[in-house]
């Protein structure tokens, strides 16, 4: 067995099991009813799971269904737990682990996009440099005065992160991010 666990200070050895933590994206279809988001968030905080990103909006108005997209980190055992714990909530219709599903279909990752609005204030060369970078990152200007720009950028999380990091010395004021929206590749839905 896990010999290195023998001196661990707890009987709860889950965290010690030698499985590295992985990032997974879960897609959860729920009834859009009061308290449903609180149930999901409460489940994560109550059981000590991580939420790296959470996005929610009603996606099927006639059926009052919302899609919650959660990016979480944990060992495969914990991720499996999260999946089943979500699945047994009464208003949850379906849970799909998009990361596992993508691997099963031989894709590296599911489709994941994030939108960010980024405000940059500055004049002179910094202002021009910000505009040049925005062009390179295919970000668009959605608001501007002589002293500022607000950029809109869409892309994978690491692209958004990178763009924000580059803008930091160029007068970054504030950022608003949507969190990750995700779907599986291919023709079928879930």
């Amino acid at each position: 067995m896990n010999a290195q666990n023998l001196n661990a200070p707890s009987a709860y050895f889950m965290a010690d099991i030698e499985q590295p933590a992985e990032s997974h994206t879960l897609s959860v279809l729920v009834d859009n009813e009061p308290g449903v988001l609180a149930r999901v968030i409460g489940l994560f905080s109550g059981r000590g799971y991580n939420i790296d990103s959470l996005t929610v909006s009603e996606t099927e108005h006639e059926k009052h269904l919302s899609r919650i997209t959660i990016v979480t980190t944990g060992t495969p055992m914990v991720i499996e737990q999260i999946h089943h714990q979500l699945d047994r909530l009464v208003p949850v219709h379906k849970v799909t682990n998009l990361t596992v599903d993508a691997r099963r279909r031989n894709f590296e990752k599911p489709l994941e996009r994030e939108l960010a609005l980024i405000k940059v204030a500055g004049v002179g060369e910094k202002r021009l440099e910000a505009l040049r970078l925005a062009d390179a990152f295919r970000a668009t200007v959605i608001d501007a005065t002589a002293e500022h720009f607000v950029f809109e950028i869409t892309g994978r999380t690491n692209k958004v992160e990178q763009f924000i990091a580059i803008l930091k010395p160029l007068g970054l004021v504030e950022v608003s991010r949507s969190g990750v929206a995700a779907l599986q590749r291919g023709p079928d839905g879930f």
Binding site: D31, G35, A38, Q81, H84, R88
Partner: protein, 588 residues
């Protein structure tokens, strides 16, 4: 039948349509319209408790002893918050409860009104699901859905929070409909391939064990019968968790006794050394597994559970089977019989011989004396003098609970009512009351400790008012015995705040409530006093003065494995003081 009625009428009508006969509750401002309906009908009996927590545990006792959901009715604010312990208890032990709470009128919600609290917010983590009813149109559907959710799949508690204006509002009542729930549809039938694999695995086993839990009892009497049949046709030894006692009879040939922290040596050693473990409706609780990395290291594990989130939660299993225990056992028995499977008779014989060697250690031994009543002896006598009857036994939490589990033999399911997961002191008396309401002619005994009983002693008044002759059998050692035992094991015998000074005179207390009080402190008087308790038509408090420093053994000290049990004959002061390593001390 569709009919116009008020929200309060709908509540009563829905309860009737759901087959409810008894409601446990306590009135208050925000539920007065419902109470006004209660008094104008006589199909449903209301049992008035003395504290809302008592209503919750009484409903749990009712549910556990009948297999039907327990129903609670309480008011807003403190009425609801007093229910939180009982709801959490029911959540952890998978007991179906439907709790209806009053709420301040809709337009006052959020204004910090008198007796307002965020009931659905507070009870969200301790219920399977809860609803705040905001429109009268939704009320009938939600009431029926509440019963479905409480009882379907893995059972549990639900809360329906009804604002007072909704109770007064008029709408159209609809009776329950038999349509599939839109999102919550637990799987009851097990996957046949997995079941087939499990049967093949079991048939090849040399040292198999059935590890059964409360899921067998929740599945129903048929599941218990199938478990007995499966054990009989395979010859596999059976052990059970605290929650599963009675599913397999204590007098059964294959019975090893309870397993876990205070389980028998033979049960725990068999779990440790087995080569195939079949977990039937149990959840690898930490009181059962001991240290996880040394838990049954050489076995292949089958796990049958209706709740997929119980599988691979703490222990990785080889063959998971998601489904209702009764359905899966039915398939297993059928496959075993039709496949004419049989275990290797020689290996099984050797396994039983090994188990008999462990059993000969007599891990439940204690030294009886003529001067003082040993607590184990008291339970043994209670068992011998009550076993021929229809008896329901509840407990509080602590040493007495473990001794009851070890020494009271349960032959049938639903006869053992105890707070396993949450470990709620104060559970036993109201639970016995709930069982007595459901089984008026049965003998309902709360095996209690002197500390626990004081946590819901006020329910004696309920028992007297409703003519419920429950028997409170207190093992009085004047300590919080289990706390004291742990202080001895972990904290150099410094008994911080575990001595119960100034206990009430329990005999006088019983009389003050209008019950009957008995006190015994000599072993020779015990049998006669127990007979007197059984014969009394009143609620009884039995103050059984027992050895004050007895400890509960055997024990798997925290942080140790199943094969590192502390046995009673080895438990001298030195062994007790050194039983738990510094790492184990951090554990509960």
């Amino acid at each position: 039948m569709k009919r116009e009625m008020t929200g309060a009428e709908m509540v009563l009508q829905a309860l009737k349509d759901q087959g409810v006969k008894h409601v446990f509750g306590y009135p208050g401002g925000a539920v007065l319209p419902i109470y006004d309906e209660i008094i104008q009908q006589d199909e449903i009996d209301h049992i008035l408790v003395r504290h809302e927590q008592g209503a919750g545990h009484a409903a749990e006792g009712y549910a556990r002893s009948t297999g039907k959901p327990g129903v609670v009715l309480v008011t807003s604010g403190p009425g609801a918050t007093n229910m939180v312990t009982a709801l959490t208890d029911a959540m952890l032990d998978s007991i179906p409860l439907v709790c209806i709470t009053g709420q301040v009128p809709t337009h006052l919600i959020g204004s910090d009104a008198f007796q307002e609290c965020d009931t659905v917010g507070i009870t969200r983590p301790c219920t399977k699901h809860n609803w705040l009813v905001k429109r009268i149109e939704d009320l009938p559907r939600i009431l029926h859905e509440a019963f479905y959710v409480a009882t379907a799949g893995r059972p549990g508690p639900v809360v329906v929070d009804i604002p007072k204006d909704i109770q007064f509002a008029t709408g159209t009542y609809e009776p329950p409909k038999n349509i599939a729930h839109k999102s919550y549809r637990p799987r009851v039938k097990g996957d046949m391939d997995a079941i087939r694999h499990a049967i093949e695995l079991i048939a090849r086993a040399k040292k198999p064990i059935l590890y059964t839990g409360g899921g067998v009892i929740n599945s129903g009497p048929a599941a218990c019968q199938l478990l007995r049949e499966f054990a009989q046709i395979t010859g596999i030894p059976v052990t059970s968790t605290l929650m599963g006692l009675g599913a397999y009879p204590a007098s059964g040939e294959n019975w090893l006794g309870m397993l876990g922290m205070h389980g028998t040596y033979e049960a725990n050693m068999a779990m440790h050394d087995c080569d195939v473990m079949v977990n039937i409706g149990a959840r690898f609780d930490d009181r059962i597994t001991g240290r996880l990395d040394a838990f049954s290291p050489n076995s292949l594990k089958v796990h049958i559970d209706i709740d997929p989130s119980s599988i691979n939660k703490t222990v990785q299993v080889d063959i998971p089977i998601v489904g209702d225990v009764g359905h899966v056992l039915e398939d297993m028995v059928r496959l075993w019989r039709t496949g004419s499977h049989g275990l290797d008779a020689g290996a099984l014989k050797g396994w039983w011989e090994q188990i008999d060697r462990w059993r000969s250690r007599n891990s439940l031994a204690y030294r009886p004396t003529d001067d003082v009543i040993m607590p184990q002896y008291a339970i043994q006598r209670l068992y011998e003098l009550t076993k021929g009857r229809e008896t329901y036994v509840s407990t509080e939490v602590g040493q007495h609970q473990m001794w009851a589990a070890q020494f009271y033999g349960f032959e049938a399911p639903n006869r053992w009512l105890t707070s396993g997961g949450l470990g709620t002191m104060g559970y036993g008396l109201p639970a016995a009351i709930g069982a007595q309401v459901a089984h008026p002619d049965a003998l309902c005994i709360d095996i209690a400790g002197d500390a626990s009983i004081l946590m819901n002693i006020q329910e004696m008044s309920t028992a007297v008012q409703f003519g419920l002759p429950v028997k409170v059998f207190i093992l009085n050692n004047q300590y919080m015995g289990m706390v004291r035992q742990w202080q001895q094991l972990l904290h150099g015998n410094r008994l911080s705040n575990s001595y119960m000074d100034s206990l009430p005179d329990f005999v006088k207390l019983a009389e003050a409530y209008g019950g009957h009080g008995i006190r015994v402190d000599k072993p020779k008087d015990l049998d006669g006093a127990i007979e007197e308790m059984i014969a009394s038509p009143k609620p009884v408090i039995f103050d059984c003065r027992v050895a004050s420093l007895a400890n509960c053994f055997p024990m798997i000290p925290s942080g140790k494995a199943h094969n590192e049990m502390l046995l009673p004959d080895e438990a001298n002061d030195e062994a007790v003081a050194n039983a738990i390593s510094s790492e184990g001390k951090a554990l509960v």
